[in-house]
C-alpha cells in the first residue's frame, strides 16, 4: 500500500485482532499512507476510517456531529440479523443527543464522577476488589483473572452507583453482555435481553421514586437539570441502562488487557511492584497502548468538514479509531513502547469534547484500585500461559481478551 497505489478495494473493518500486545499492522500503514481510508463494515455498508490523532481528535470533539445511528443516511455497523446497540433507529432516544439539552442531561450525572466523589468511593471499590481477590486466591492457582476480578468488579460498582441490590448483579452482567454484540448473540436474544433490562430498570425507577436512596438514580429522580426540568421515567430508564452498558464491558475488558500488558513481559509488572507510585501514570499509558480497543466511534457528517488530512464531504460515515490515533508518533514520543512513566499522556481512549466518556474518572479509579490491590496482595503474579496464547474476544464492539489465566 503506497500513495502511488491507492487502495481500490475497501478494507474490511474492524481489522482482525493480532494478540494482547500487537496492534493490527494496518494502523501504522494507514496512519502513514492513507489517513482517510475507505472501509467496509460487517453490515456491508461503506465508511471512512480515520487513524491520525489530529483528525480523530478534531472529529470526535466536533459538537455538530453525532453517532451514525442517529442519522438516516449513516452506515449500519452490525451484520444482517445482528444489529448492534449503535444501529437502533426505531425508537428515538429519550435523552438529548447533542447541544444544550445534552449538556444539561450530562451535567445532572457529572456530580457523581468528580475527583472528590472518586476519592470517597475508592475504599468501597477497594473492598470489592479485595473480596474478589480473596475468593480467587481461595480457589487456588491458576485462575482466570478476567472471570474472577475483571468481570464482576465493574458490575458491582455500577450496581452500587445505581442502588441495584447485590442479588441482581449477575443478571445485569448478562444483559450488558448482549447489547454490545457484533455477531455473538442472535437478534432474538439481544431483543429479549433489552426488554428484560428495560422492564427491570422501569421497576427499579418506580421503587426509587417511592423510597429514594443515596444513589445516582434517586438523585436524578428527586433533582432537576439547570433549566429546572426533571427527567421523565423513560429518560431515567435510558440513563440507568446507558451507564450499565457503557461502564461494564469496557472496564471488564480493560482490566484483563491491562494485566496482560503488564505481565506479558514481566519487567513492567516488576516496575510497578517496586514503585506503586507509578500506578496513576501506568493506567494512563495502558489506556493509550490498548491493541484490542474494539470498534471506535462513528460520526455521521451532516455537512462538509475540514480535517488536517483533508475535507470529508457531507454524507460521510466516519469511523474514528482512537486506538490507532493513540499510537501516532507525531504526538507520542516512542509511541510503540509501553512507558509507565509517560506524562502528560494525551491519549483519547475516552474520546474528547462534549461527548467524551462521562464515567472516565470511575474507570480510572477502578483500574488504579485493581493495580493497588494486586501489587499489594499478589506481587508474584504471572501469566499462566505465554501472552501470544491469550485470545482476543470476537463478536463484540468492545475489544478484549477471552481469558487471562494467571498464577501467583
Amino acid at each position: 500500500m503506497t500513495q502511488s497505489e491507492p487502495i481500490e478495494r475497501a478494507l474490511d473493518y474492524p481489522m482482525p485482532p493480532i494478540d494482547a500486545i500487537e496492534p493490527p499492522p494496518e494502523w501504522a500503514e494507514l496512519r502513514q499512507q492513507c489517513p482517510v481510508a475507505h472501509v467496509r463494515l460487517p453490515s456491508g455498508d461503506q465508511a471512512t476510517l480515520l487513524t491520525r490523532y489530529g483528525d480523530v481528535r478534531q472529529l470526535i470533539a466536533d459538537p455538530r456531529f453525532g453517532r451514525t445511528a442517529e442519522e438516516e443516511g449513516g452506515a449500519r455497523i452490525g451484520a444482517e440479523g445482528a444489529s448492534t446497540i449503535f444501529d437502533r433507529r426505531d425508537e428515538p432516544s429519550p435523552i438529548p443527543q447533542s447541544g444544550a439539552g445534552h449538556q444539561r442531561w450530562r451535567r445532572m450525572l457529572t456530580k457523581w464522577f468528580t475527583a472528590k466523589r472518586m476519592a470517597a468511593l475508592r475504599p468501597r471499590i477497594e473492598a470489592m476488589a479485595s473480596q474478589l481477590v480473596d475468593e480467587m486466591v481461595a480457589h487456588g492457582a491458576p485462575a482466570d483473572l478476567k472471570a474472577g476480578l475483571g468481570y464482576p468488579l465493574p458490575v458491582w460498582v455500577i450496581c452500587d452507583l445505581l442502588g441495584v441490590p447485590d442479588s441482581d448483579r449477575d443478571r445485569f452482567a448478562y444483559w450488558s453482555d448482549t447489547f454490545l454484540s457484533l455477531s455473538r448473540y442472535q437478534q432474538a436474544e439481544i431483543d429479549a435481553a433489552q426488554a428484560e433490562l428495560t422492564a427491570y430498570m422501569a421497576g427499579h425507577v418506580e421503587a426509587k421514586r417511592l423510597a429514594p436512596g443515596e444513589d445516582l438514580l434517586s438523585d436524578l429522580i428527586t433533582g432537576a437539570d439547570a433549566a429546572g426540568a426533571k427527567l421523565g421515567t423513560e429518560a431515567l430508564v435510558a440513563t440507568g441502562k446507558g451507564l450499565l452498558i457503557a461502564g461494564h464491558e469496557t472496564t471488564t475488558n480493560m482490566i484483563g488487557k491491562m494485566m496482560a500488558m503488564l505481565l506479558s513481559d514481566r519487567s513492567a509488572w516488576e516496575q510497578l511492584v517496586a514503585d506503586p507510585a507509578l500506578i496513576r501514570t501506568a493506567v494512563e499509558e495502558i489506556l493509550r497502548y490498548d491493541a484490542n480497543p474494539g470498534f471506535g466511534l462513528t460520526r455521521y457528517l451532516t455537512e462538509d468538514v475540514e480535517l488536517p488530512s483533508g475535507v470529508l464531504p457531507a454524507g460521510t460515515t466516519a469511523v474514528c479509531s482512537m486506538a490507532a490515533a493513540n499510537r501516532d508518533d507525531g504526538v507520542f514520543a516512542d509511541a510503540e513502547s509501553l512507558d509507565l512513566t509517560r506524562s502528560p499522556n494525551v491519549h483519547i481512549t475516552f474520546g474528547a469534547g462534549p461527548k467524551s466518556c462521562v464515567g472516565q474518572s470511575l474507570a480510572r479509579t477502578e483500574l488504579q484500585v485493581v493495580l493497588e490491590v494486586l501489587v499489594r496482595r499478589l506481587p508474584g503474579l504471572a501469566l499462566a500461559v505465554p501472552s501470544a496464547r491469550l485470545r482476543p474476544v470476537e463478536g463484540l464492539l468492545v475489544g478484549g481478551l477471552q481469558e487471562v489465566p494467571v498464577v501467583w
Binding site: T110, F113, T114, I348, S361
Partner: protein, 64 residues
Amino acid sequence: MKIIVDQDKCVASGQCVTAADTVFDQRDEDGIVVLLTDNPSPELAADVHQAAAVCPALAIVVED
C-alpha cells in the same frame, strides 16, 4: 502565568483536579471546573500545564 477556564466547554472529567488540586476544583452540583486561583505560584507551572494538556475538552488555557 495566567489561567483561563471555559466552564461551558468543561466536561467534568476531574483530570485538572487530579493534576493540580490547589489550582482547580469542581462545583458540587455538576462537577464543572472552578478556578481557585488564576495566577498560581511558579512552582505549580508543571502541574497546571499537565492539567491543560490532559483536559478532554481542552477547556483550560495557560498563558505564561
